[in-house]
């Protein structure tokens, strides 16, 4: 997809041309009208989508993660998620939007032109996938803001139950600045490096999930495992909360994936059915592999499969067919299951809530799988001129660039944060649980 911001002459034309060539040829039949059209149906859907993505973060992600930690740490997770979302919204308005979509022709950086949303008015419009059809720029800014708000919050699951609150907030701002905004520009802006390369990332598999997953892996390795990891009982304190959160994420994900279509049309419905059935395939896939491996299908397994499927379909949902989506979701579950139950234990890193194992790995499966399942022969919307091999290499390039960019930058940023405020709480705080020492509150009282 493109988020080339509408400027009457060039940007829209570039964005549309690239798109029509590569992503949504079905929409090419529409003839471009002389004056850009703003459709109230599109606007209504995109406002709804923005709210759905907010709902993913709060309370979806917060509860999903919150249920997975021990009772003494749930408030730290809820608070970190809430604060990251709030801080990122402020940062987005101040400079994030400009850095990602400021209109610069640089391939990696959106520029300074729209700091504090300078120049944005009620008349400003942003391009969609259809030539001549626009949405208000305030709406585009808001929709994209919700993505920026949730992505750094995904990372915190990897080093849950031991990280300092101040370190989380500082890292999130730095990471968004150095990693998220540039990668968002690269993938979604019409001038972006990966966009021009032709990478298919419909709703942000690279920008959001691989990006956050890699940062999570680096973070949990640099912070180190929880005290007592591998010895003490660290079971989730509330799987019911976890499933509530995961299910809210599923519902919210329709804003994320279907909203990424930017218009309320047939392309949106393809993303919608794919977001349903890929997730269904992934839940079935995870439970099946778990039954074969362990003999039982667990609730947490089904919830994990749900998230793995949602992550995997994110880049693919605009270009693959529903049957391919089921297969991609199931495949993602199998690979993620292998990572969280075998690879993680072998390597010994403590990715507490499996952010890398599900978002990172599922994101990579999705990004690479998109190349195959987009082909017409596998039910995708691509025609005869689509070369799977060539697209696979482009997808692989996008993955490698994201992994290296996020991996290297995250390592440096974690080091900086460690020096400035310290990454980790004191041992006695970790033993007691973060809630009372960090926030002065306790989640559950017996009376």
């Amino acid at each position: 997809m493109t988020f080339g911001v509408y400027k009457p002459a060039r940007s829209l034309a570039v964005a549309t041309a690239v798109l029509l060539a590569g992503i949504l040829p079905a929409l090419a039949q529409e003839t471009a009208p002389a004056a850009p059209i703003m459709d109230k149906g599109d606007v209504a859907w995109m406002m709804t989508s923005s709210l759905l993505v907010l709902f993913m973060a709060l309370p979806g992600l917060a509860l999903f993660y919150g249920g997975l930690v021990r009772a003494k740490n749930i408030l730290s997770i809820l608070m970190q998620t809430t604060m990251i979302a709030a801080v990122m919204m402020v940062v987005w308005v101040v400079y994030g939007y400009s850095f990602a979509f400021g209109g610069s022709e640089n391939a990696f950086f959106g520029g300074f032109a729209k700091l504090f949303l300078k120049g944005v008015t009620l008349e400003s419009m942003s391009a969609t996938f259809t030539s001549g059809v626009v949405i208000p720029e305030y709406l585009f800014i808001t929709f994209q803001m919700t993505f920026a708000a949730i992505t750094p919050a995904l990372i915190i699951g990897a080093f849950a139950e031991r990280v300092k609150f101040s370190a989380v907030v500082l890292f999130s701002v730095l990471w968004a600045t150095v990693v998220y905004f540039p990668v968002a520009h690269m993938v979604w802006d019409a001038n972006g490096y990966l966009f021009k390369l032709g990478a298919i990332d419909f709703a942000g598999g690279t920008v959001v999930h691989i990006n956050a997953g890699i940062a999570a892996l680096v973070g949990c390795i640099m912070i180190g495992p929880r005290r007592g990891y591998g010895k003490d009982m660290m079971a989730p304190h509330s799987l019911p909360l976890c499933l509530i959160g995961a299910s809210i994420l599923w519902v919210g994900w329709f804003g994320f994936n279907v909203g990424s279509n930017l218009e309320s049309n047939a392309g949106a419905t393809l993303a919608m059915i794919n977001t349903f059935v890929a997730t269904a395939g992934a839940i079935v896939g995870w439970s099946l592999i778990e039954t074969l491996h362990r003999g039982k299908a667990s609730m947490l397994g089904a919830a994990s499969g749900m998230i793995a499927g949602l992550v995997a379909i994110t880049p693919a949902c605009g270009t693959i067919g529903p049957v391919g989506a089921i297969a991609l979701g199931a495949l993602a579950s199998v690979v993620c299951y292998f990572f969280v139950s075998v690879v993680k234990n072998k390597l010994g890193y403590d990715d507490s809530l499996d952010v890398f194992g599900i978002h990172g790995v599922g994101g990579i499966v999705g990004a690479l799988g998109t190349a195959f399942f987009s082909a017409g022969a596998l039910g995708g919307i691509k025609g005869d001129d689509y070369a799977v091999g060539a697209q696979f290499m482009i997808q692989l390039t996008a993955v490698v660039i994201t992994v290296v960019w996020s991996g290297v930058a995250s390592a440096i940023l974690f080091k900086i944060v460690d020096v400035v405020v310290g990454l980790r709480v004191k041992p006695e705080v970790e033993t007691q649980g973060l809630d009372q020492p960090s926030h002065g509150e306790v989640a559950y009282h017996n009376s």
Partner: protein, 112 residues
């Protein structure tokens, strides 16, 4: 007076309470506890993590009774709390020196 402590299976609590009510027992204290005797715990899996849970949830009853009905109380708990499976629990009986009703200051068997 005797002080009776019984560790029983949680789902047997209501049956035991009813049976004790039939004896005219008026006061009972119940606590949710964990522990193990010969019945061992179980294994839990959370994604890749495997935990052995050594302690089994049980309910602990405590009641102070008059010497005269102590044997019938013990027998009642034993019968009502029994499933015949391992893990049915234990009953412990202690001599009780004194009992005081806080509201009135009554002591001994009158306070029970």
């Amino acid at each position: 007076m005797k002080y009776v402590i019984a560790i029983i299976k949680p789902f047997k609590l209501e049956e035991v309470r009813e049976a004790l009510g039939g004896l005219g027992i008026q006061g009972i204290t119940v606590t949710e506890v964990k522990g193990h005797g010969r019945q061992r715990g179980h294994t839990e899996f959370y994604r890749g993590a495997e935990y052995t849970v050594s302690f089994v949830p049980k309910v602990k009853l405590e009641l102070a009774v008059d010497e005269a009905i102590a044997d019938r109380v013990i027998e009642t708990i034993q019968l009502a709390g029994q499933t015949g499976q391992i893990g049915d629990g234990k009953i412990f009986v202690l001599p009780l020196e004194q009992a005081v009703r806080i509201r009135t200051g009554e002591t001994g068997a009158a306070a029970l």
